[in-house]
């Protein structure tokens, strides 16, 4: 079985400054893969290039062996994506967004309606039946985004910060959904800032630093007997600040 996602030499520069620099990464089929990194390390840029939303300056992205940039139609059948902070059809309600997208995907009416109903119920969005997406809170936007990614039953989910701003109860729901998705043969790649979460729910992890993969492997390999947080701080060479200065804060 080919790898769920294989990135080879991805490169992207903005205004002469490299954002992603010759990044290569392999996500085995059936894995729950976590990407961690500092702000601006290149996680969102890499994921955008991986799914076909941002044109790379160089490099390849393949989903189950299908090149995203030369055979986009086939690759996109296999992909479900939750991008970070992009727009939605703001003037539709959550149910309408799902219906719209299902029909756009060519699913038939009854399947679309049934799936939309189930997704809204599971993600507790039924209450907001009459609310336009433009009125959704950040957490609700994440949840409807996740429903959008799941709707057509993809084989690989690429999720940018899926747990950001999601309440603790919904977060547990989302974790359970993703777990079942993996058990059913799917694969997941997600980025996150929360080390404890990645340590808990992912089986593989890669640390992205300055546009490159600093280390990758199973969570056990990367941790090597320590906490993921310590390994991370060591790897990215971050100095944890806050112990000195700011004297004026004391009242």
């Amino acid at each position: 079985m080919p790898d769920a996602l294989r990135l080879t030499g991805l490169t992207k520069a903005f205004g002469g400054k490299p954002a992603v620099d010759d990044l290569s990464l392999t996500v085995p089929a059936g894995s729950f893969y976590g990407l961690v990194g500092l702000n601006g390390a290149g996680k969102t840029t890499s994921l955008s290039m991986a799914v076909g939303l941002l044109r790379p300056d160089a490099g390849r992205a393949e989903v189950f062996g299908v090149d995203v940039w030369t055979e986009p139609e086939r690759a996109k059948e296999l992909l479900g994506v939750l991008p970070d902070s992009l727009g939605m059809p703001e003037r539709l309600t959550g149910r309408e967004v799902l219906t719209y997208l299902g029909l756009l995907r060519g699913l038939d009416r009854s399947a679309v309606d049934a799936r939309a109903e189930e997704l809204l119920t599971v993600l507790e969005l039924v209450e907001a039946e009459k609310t336009l997406v433009s009125e959704y809170s950040t957490g609700m936007r994440k949840k409807i985004g996740l429903a959008v990614a799941l709707l057509h039953a993809p084989r690989l989910l690429v999720l940018d910060e899926p747990f950001e701003a999601v309440d603790p109860v919904s977060a547990l729901t989302v974790r359970r959904i993703l777990r079942r998705f993996i058990d059913g043969g799917g694969s997941v790649v997600m980025s996150s800032h929360v080390m404890a979460l990645v340590e808990h729910i992912c089986d593989h992890v890669a640390v992205i630093d300055r546009g490159r993969v600093a280390v990758s492997g199973t969570v056990g390999e990367v941790k090597a007997g320590r906490g993921l947080e310590d390994v991370f701080v060591d790897l990215v060479g971050g100095r944890v600040e806050g112990a000195e200065g700011l004297a004026w804060l004391a009242s």
């Binding site: 139609e73 029909l103 060519g106």
Partner: protein, 623 residues
Amino acid sequence: MAGVLIAMRVAVLRHSLRGQKAAYTASAVVIGLVLAGATIYLGFSDGTALAGLLGLWVLGWAIAPLIVGGGEVLKPENFAVLPLTPRKLAAGLLASSFVGFGPAIALVAFAALLPYAVQAGPETLVVAVPAMLLELAFVVLLARFVNAVAGILLRTHLGAAIVAFVWAGALALLAQGWALVAALTQRWGAKGPAVLDDIVGWLPSGWPVRAVDAAGRGEWGLAAGLLAAMAVLLVVMLLTWARMLRRRLTVKPARPRVHTAGRARLGGNGPVGAVLAKELRGWSRDLLRINHMWFAIVYGVAFCLLPVLVGWWGMAPYTGLVVLVMASGLAANVFGSDGTALWMTLLTPGAARADVRGRQLAWVAVFGPISAVLTVALTAVSGEDSAWPIVLGLLPAALGGAAGLAALVSVYMLIPLTDPHKRGANPLGLGDNEGQVSGLVYVMLLGVPLTCVPAAGALAAGLITGTAWLTWLTVPVGVASGALFSWWFGRLAHHRLVTHGPDLLQAMRTGKAASTRTVRGEDGVKRVLADFKLEDLPKKERTIVGICWGTGWLPLFPQGLVATGMLLFGQREKSWFLATYLGDFAYPVAIAMLLLGLAVYGTALYLPWRYKKSRAAREALGG
């Protein structure tokens, strides 16, 4: 406080003046200065004319949020947590609003009051100088004020329609105001226009002129009273604006009510049907779109029916056509105004075609019936029977042509705007590029008639030969050409969306157009690659290139080409063409202007070319 806000605004403007934006700004500044010069030239010796011109400037500032966008350089929300009273914040924001090219140009125009005052007696300058400054404060505050009022109104369906009525009515009056003047003359003879002059003179915009006049007559009390009245007006407006600001910052706007009876499902079948259903929801729920729809209708109706005031019905049959062109201009950036939601289309196989076709269908479904009803009803009422074959042929031609062209322009000339979910409390705040959107109206104004050429050809043939069946052939030709152009242009649009979709998305993410080049690889497959961007240029060169693009047209076209043409045809009357003032040197000067224009555009092309070359050389060296 005001000092800090002014410094902030200067910093923001400095950062935003880059590349395309610099070019756009330079163009606008040149046009503005020409208009300001014209105001001084036409107004400094004639009080009535000056009051009228000042009235036009004030009207211009009042509709500025529509023309150049209602965006705020400094957003009040950013200062909401500071311990400031709304009045202090309003005063500070107002002070910062004086920084910019717009107020500077207005000040140049209002300086016409100074030579006017000198003629009335140098001592009246004591009145003219403060009057000039008060007028400037008035327009700057007026633009903020109108924007705030429109922002509040644009939260309800009715409000969106009201805003459209006012703005479209004002614009139509600017274009067809002659009809009003003529109607008054018809009714009361020369007294009619004089009454109009009086009214314009007594509007606040004309108070500075009245004050200078009063001072010239030695009525210093009246002059002082008028200045005081302006000051009071300003204070009242400022206080009202402060109240609106406080409301905006503290009261969350009521949710727009959605008409979803029970669990009404999104209608439609298949991908195109889904987009059509989504778009129709947009036309009934998105208040900015509703505003645009009413704007097009009101503008078209007012534009074509104002001449009826003097009993001329000749334009009435064409109301539907004017509405169509205006509506297509406002809909020619559909992808840009939906912003990064485009990602959904990009990630759905085969969706690009459905997205374009569904939007075209929705636009035709909304404006087809409106324009058809207006056309049939007003042609019948007007009694212009000869217009029937013309409008019945041109209407389908224009409807299809506009639907095709709007799709094409939306993709090929996409203008990135602020994403709808990031616009916050100012529904008119569309981001850095909003001013360019009104330019699309002109693109459609030129483009839609071009798509009507086949129908117009049949019409002309019929009218010239006097053959009735040939004249009526306009109708089938119009239907065919409309269908052809909407199909063909739509096809170009969705193909482009497939090949360049990610680059359009990136443009909307960053607010800057992404440039690409298409290369054919060794395997014969065409690939789109990221290309050199103007943003890559060093800052100084980028600014120079921007200014060159923005100003080159001035020497090249009017002062060069047009002036040469006028000289060739013996037209030497002194006008604003420099060459017409120079007698024997007219030709050399016009040609020098031509060369200057070419040199300016040459510089704009040369600098990026030189940079690209040196970068390629560096890369070759560096491997």
